[in-house]
């Protein structure tokens, strides 16, 4: 079995392998002495959790784990694991990196397509398996796109939180909570892949190259947020950014302006602990009590 870490990965290819176990999980509220010894403070806590579990042998059943170059934490964790394996400090499955390039020029598209072909070869997946997996994964995408809508929706945006604690705080106020947690982002297969092209690796490469997923995508955060607000019909937004966030936080001023201009009630929470955020949940309760949907 194989597993993955990070966003913007070739899920159609994973499906074609027939041995994809999904993204690795994490557990935060515990001591992580091994990770503390090797990993610096600016890493996301989930990275420390995975390193800790890796060293403890929790992932030994996997043959390989694919890390996303599209996320800086994930790609650095990949190098750390490779080095610690080389030094004999830990063992476990083979770390692989999937190198998606998301720049707007065709050089980046060509690179991403080449990397899809390389991973397919490494996992021994042929074109016919990929063709079938694309059709099946597109069907799953269409099903998931049927969003449930509520007249009173609050969108959680910014850093994808580790769990549904913020969503629970929203629902405790009688609102419907929208917006992904991190596990959703990592499991997101992205937009549909062109089926029946005769070159499934190129089709997957194109999809990943254009994908808005991943921190390396050169995107307009405010436009992306506006699309999420429209898709969920949100009338309130919680912009929640964690302490270790390095990418999305640069869009915060533009996001706030967009929401202000649109007249959408907004609560901004920055530098939050990426874990249980009781203060954040309390602030959400107070915020939503003052909002009329």
């Amino acid at each position: 079995m194989i597993a993955s870490v990070g966003p913007a990965l070739p899920h159609d290819l994973f499906a074609a392998s027939g041995r994809y176990a999904g993204p690795l999980g994490w557990s935060l509220d515990r001591p992580m002495p091994f990770a503390a010894r090797w990993m610096e403070t600016k890493f996301a806590p989930w990275a420390a959790s995975i390193l800790e579990d890796w060293a403890a042998g929790a992932f030994d059943a996997y043959e390989a784990v694919v890390f996303a170059r599209a996320d800086d934490n994930a790609q650095r964790l990949y190098y750390y694991l490779c080095e610690l394996r080389r030094q004999g400090v830990l063992a476990g499955p083979e770390p692989l990196v999937f190198d998606s390039a998301q720049g707007s020029r065709t050089t980046s598209l060509d690179r991403t397509t080449a990397m899809v072909r390389k991973l397919a070869a490494r996992l021994d997946i042929d074109d016919s398996a990929l063709d079938g997996a694309i059709v099946a994964t597109n069907a799953a995408r269409a099903k998931r796109a049927e969003l449930s809508r509520s007249p009173k929706t609050c969108l959680v945006a910014g850093t994808a939180p580790p769990d549904r604690g913020l969503h629970d705080a929203i629902e405790a106020q009688g609102w419907h909570a929208a917006g992904p947690v991190l596990a959703d982002v990592w499991a997101d297969a992205g937009p549909p892949v062109d089926a029946g092209t005769g070159d499934p690796c190129a089709a997957i490469g194109r999809q990943l190259w254009k994908s808005p997923l991943g921190n390396r995508a050169v995107h307009d955060g405010a436009t992306k947020l506006a699309a999420a607000v429209a898709a969920t019909s949100a009338s309130a937004v919680v912009l929640w950014y964690s302490e270790d966030e390095e990418a999305g936080v640069w869009h915060l001023p533009a996001e706030r302006k967009m929401l202000d201009d649109a007249g959408i009630a907004t609560l901004v929470l920055t530098r939050r602990p990426w874990g249980r955020d009781d203060d954040g949940a309390a602030a959400i309760g107070e915020f939503l009590r003052g909002v009329t949907a």
């Binding site: 090797w38 720049g103 080449a114 302490e243 390095e246």
Partner: protein, 436 residues
């Protein structure tokens, strides 16, 4: 990644460093004049120019005679003018969280402040393009917004994953660069540089001259070869003839102008001065007892920090990455393929300094080469890229018998820096390790 020594300025928390070499004064004087010339070309004459990250192919711009303002150099310039605190406040007022990465965003902050009366040069005008490699999660966002604020265009370059991991890369990077840096990564960067050249030709009307570029690459090999020769002499000489406070400007300033006649001549002058001091047995400190390694970008707001313990403890910073990097990171056997050789220089420039196994492999080797007694490691609190690889490297050094002190501070944010407290911390560490 790398930073930018510029002419010294007294800072509210820092101390001036003292200089011994005529080369240092010459380099600083050149850079001061260069700053004035660059301002004239870019601001006064309105010549098309580019804003670029330090780890981008400056050689392309030099070969095309297009002026560049390097982001890290500009940040250091702002910092030395004691404006960093003010601009960080500007970012906060614009709604960015205080913990947003500071090193790469000081130039954006200066632009957003929109205060020509106090900004260096009155602020930067609209460039033809901004160029950065996407080595971290934040840089493309900073540069996209900076480009928008300046009404220009951002040209991102990929920083692809590197699967060929060679801890001994530094021993093979000159001759075996194709395999060390991965052929497919080199090919990607060459294709990107061709795109960049086309864009620059279109924006500036200047033409890329292959012959001029080849000559430039050969000149850079000559220049960096002399710096590397001096670095090797510094590693073996006892006492250390030149402190890092003088190594940095004499390496970095010519490196900003790499391949130019002045840069080659300066490298020669510096090497010769180092060799003369080695031959004469002259030391950076009067009584060298402890040889220190500095790991991280330079603390540009307090250059005197590096010499603060020379007199009292005989503790001399003999190593920082800037000078010894000249050899393995820059020198390439061209083999008639200068564009590929340049790509190999650029496509690992950041990674080898911040990721295992390259970072720890090189620094352990360098510590042994230079007879290092202890290392002081900078750990910027808000910058994953600059933190990255530090703990693994610290452990590797300690396993090799080199004790490491990690200090939490930022290379451009003077707010978190207290000269006396930092010097005292290093002093205590050296006593605890029974080195002092």
């Amino acid at each position: 990644m790398s930073g930018a020594p510029i002419e010294n300025n007294e800072h509210e928390t820092g101390r001036r460093s003292h200089k011994m070499l005529a080369s240092t004064a010459a380099a600083n004087a050149f850079q001061k004049q260069f700053g004035a010339d660059l301002k004239r070309r870019v601001v006064d004459d309105g010549e098309p120019y580019a804003i670029v990250q330090a780890d981008t192919p400056h050689e392309i711009f030099h070969a095309m005679d297009i002026p560049i303002v390097t982001n890290q150099w500009w940040a250091a310039y702002i910092s030395a003018k004691q404006l960093s605190g003010r601009y960080f406040d500007v970012m906060t007022k614009h709604g960015y969280p205080e913990n947003a990465c500071k090193y790469c965003s000081l130039g954006l902050a200066c632009t957003l402040a929109a205060d020509p009366a106090t900004a260096p040069w009155g602020g930067l005008p609209k460039p033809a393009v901004l160029v950065a490699r996407m080595t971290c999660d934040c840089i493309q966002h900073v540069f996209t917004q900076w480009a928008a604020a300046l009404g220009s265009e951002f040209f991102p370059m990929e920083a692809p994953a590197w699967e060929h991991k060679d801890p001994g890369w530094f021993a093979r990077s000159r001759t075996e660069w194709r395999s060390v840096y991965d052929p497919d990564r080199i090919a990607l960067m060459v294709a990107e540089m061709r795109d960049l050249i086309a864009l620059l030709e279109n924006r500036t009307g200047k033409r890329f001259d292959e012959a001029k570029f080849q000559h430039l690459m050969a000149q850079i090999n000559l220049q960096e070869g002399m710096i590397w020769e001096a670095a090797q002499a510094i590693g073996t000489a006892r006492p250390c003839p030149v402190s890092i406070a003088e190594q940095m400007p004499n390496t970095m300033i010519p490196q900003w102008h790499r391949g130019s006649d002045w840069a080659v001549a300066h490298a020669r002058r510096f090497r010769d001065e180092v060799m003369t001091r080695v031959d004469a047995g002259l030391g950076a400190a009067a009584n060298e007892k402890i040889r220190l390694m500095w790991i991280g970008a330079g603390v540009w707001h307090d250059p005197g920090f590096y010499q603060a313990l020379e007199e009292t403890l005989g503790a001399v910073f003999v190593w920082s990455m800037y000078m010894p990097f000249a050899g393995p990171a820059y020198i390439r056997d061209l083999d008639g393929r200068p564009m590929e050789a340049l790509a190999s220089r650029i496509c690992g420039m950041n990674e080898v300094l911040h990721l295992p196994p390259w970072m720890n492999g090189w620094m352990v080797s360098e510590a042994a080469r230079c007879g290092i007694d202890a290392a002081i490691m900078l750990m910027p609190p808000d910058n994953r890229l600059s933190q990255s690889g530090n703990k693994i490297t610290a452990r590797s050094l300690e396993d090799a018998g080199v004790p490491v002190l990690v200090i939490d501070a930022d290379m451009v944010d003077a707010k978190t820096w207290d000269h006396d407290a930092m010097v005292a911390t290093v002093g205590r560490f050296l006593h605890e390790k029974r080195l002092a």
